[in-house]
Subunit: 293 residues, 2 copies
DNA sequence: TTTTCATATAAGCTCTCCTTATAACCGTTG
DNA sequence: CAACGGTTATAAGGAGAGCTTATATGAAAA
């Protein structure tokens, strides 16, 4: 690079208008400044770029050759700036989310719909994985946000709670419910629980383990919805998330068991890397969740 | 354009080296300057471009998007500068010459050969035309240099004499030559001359017209070489350029008539536009002619 | 001629951008 | 643990690039 890039800006405008004075107006500087710029540029490149003639100026052959390149350079820069502008205004870009099935279905879905209506040009990418997996996806840069069951220990992440959830034990409509169940009572019932590797199951196991109770489910399933279905047809007693089952509870397809003391509340959290800044789309999506919830 | 182009230069180097301090060294400025530049750029664009982390820095997604564009912009500029450099060093470009057949054959040819040996990468373009036509070609920008018979009146051109030439009357070897010919004598001979529109013919006609002598050739030809051939086989007496016929004169294929007074010397000139600067190739070609002649 | 519209030049000032110096932060190492 | 060697950030002040204004110059138009 033999000269200041800014000179090329002046060169470009000047060449476009074939006039020093017009370019000066366009660039909001004096004609003298243009003249000096071009002289400097010509000196730096060792090439005469303009023919100064009575009526304005014109490009020399060398000037024409240079102009083609400068034109495409400036156009590239402008393209770049326009792309960033679009990103900022959410007119392009992508929202990449990592989350498990349950959270996606029962929590994210409505926000995703809302987001897509507001910003139809943002491509949405969903990556399904188990809790631990979602964080990995973010670490690897394959997702911007991960939605996970809290709490999670990882100081590379900021994790903001998005939704309080309550785990409850439920049974089918014909099940005869006692007035109250201790944790030990529940452990004796025929349980339908999630598979061992799910974080909800871990949470539950750990709670009961603290009281030296071990849970031995009769049925293990992989999907939250199946917990509800199986309970509702009296295959046993499920532990489900109350907020994800409001419909079924209201319709009486399943009934809550009065647990005493109830299971502690936990949170769904939104996790993102501490160090990397969030994409505009991701920021806006979090904003939307926090506002609408 | 939202920011100074020079900032992009800094951005580019910084992104290339993924380090403020390395870029600083590379650009021969302080690390602090880089830091400030990038901050200003980020502020101007309203976008974070780098993730500052313990070990150096890395591009954000926005930064990556921008980088692609800036890279191609800078590469375009560098290409342009390289092209100009090549032109300056005569490693590319073209030499466009307009001239008549005679001048080309008898005068330019040896210089063109020489030039092509010295600068094999310069494309040579020859445009053949009559004297007036050559100047038009230059005016229209279709040629850089025109070689013409002088004198010529046109104040748009600079015309530099390149070669003195002498017009002489010649006859075949068997022709009986008197000791001296007056202009009137010559006019009585059976003449072989160029066609009316050639500038050499004009020159001759005008000279004789000044002395109220009109020339009425028996034979008109279009090409200088034919003047020689026809004279040499005794079809008449030709008026030719001595410098273009040295071989034939030396070999005795034709003989000079002693004219008294002799025809005045004239010049072949090299013409180029006053206002437009000459291409490097054209400048060099003129230089070569002036040196070698 | 004079006027008008170009660009070029001169001189001086302003404000951008750089430098120096220092801070803050992190990881490594003695 | 403290010191060091490596980042980048910040503060403050100074240099000079690049601007402005004013004027010159030159060619065409009036």
């Amino acid at each position: 690079m033999k000269t200041k890039l800014d000179y090329y800006r002046v060169f470009y405008e000047t060449a476009c208008f074939r006039s020093f004075s017009t370019a000066a107006q366009r660039l909001y500087i004096s004609q003298s400044a243009i003249s000096q710029c071009i002289q400097q540029l010509e000196k730096d490149l060792g090439v005469q770029l303009f023919v100064r003639t009575r009526k304005g100026i014109s490009l020399t052959n060398e000037g024409k050759i240079l102009f083609l390149k400068v034109e495409s350079a400036i156009s590239a820069i402008e393209q770049g700036e326009r792309q960033l502008e679009q990103l900022r205004h959410l007119e392009s870009g992508e929202l990449r989310i990592a989350a498990g099935d349950t959270i996606t279905t029962h929590f994210l879905l409505k926000y995703l719909e809302e987001f897509h209506v507001s910003y139809p040009d943002i491509r949405i990418e969903m990556a399904n994985s188990y809790s631990a997996g979602t964080l990995s996806l973010v670490k690897e840069g394959k997702a911007d946000l991960a939605f996970v069951n809290m709490p999670i220990e990882d100081d590379e992440f900021v994790i903001e709670p998005c939704l309080e959830i309550n785990d409850v034990f439920v049974c089918g409509p014909d099940f005869e419910i006692k007035s109250s169940y201790s944790w030990e009572d529940v452990a004796e019932l025929p349980l339908i629980l999630l598979e061992n590797h799910s974080s909800s199951r871990h949470f539950l196991d750990d709670l009961f383990a603290e009281k030296n109770i071990s849970l031995d489910p009769q049925i293990k399933v992989a999907v939250h919805d199946l917990l509800i279905r199986f309970a509702s047809i009296h295959l046993g007693v499920s532990c489900i998330v109350e907020q994800f089952s409001t419909d079924e509870l209201k319709k009486g397809l399943i009934k809550k068991l009065p647990l005493s003391p109830p299971l502690p509340t936990r949170n769904i959290g939104c996790a993102y890397l501490k160090n990397a800044p969030l994409s505009y789309a991701a920021k806006e999506f979090m904003e939307l969740i926090m506002t609408l919830r």
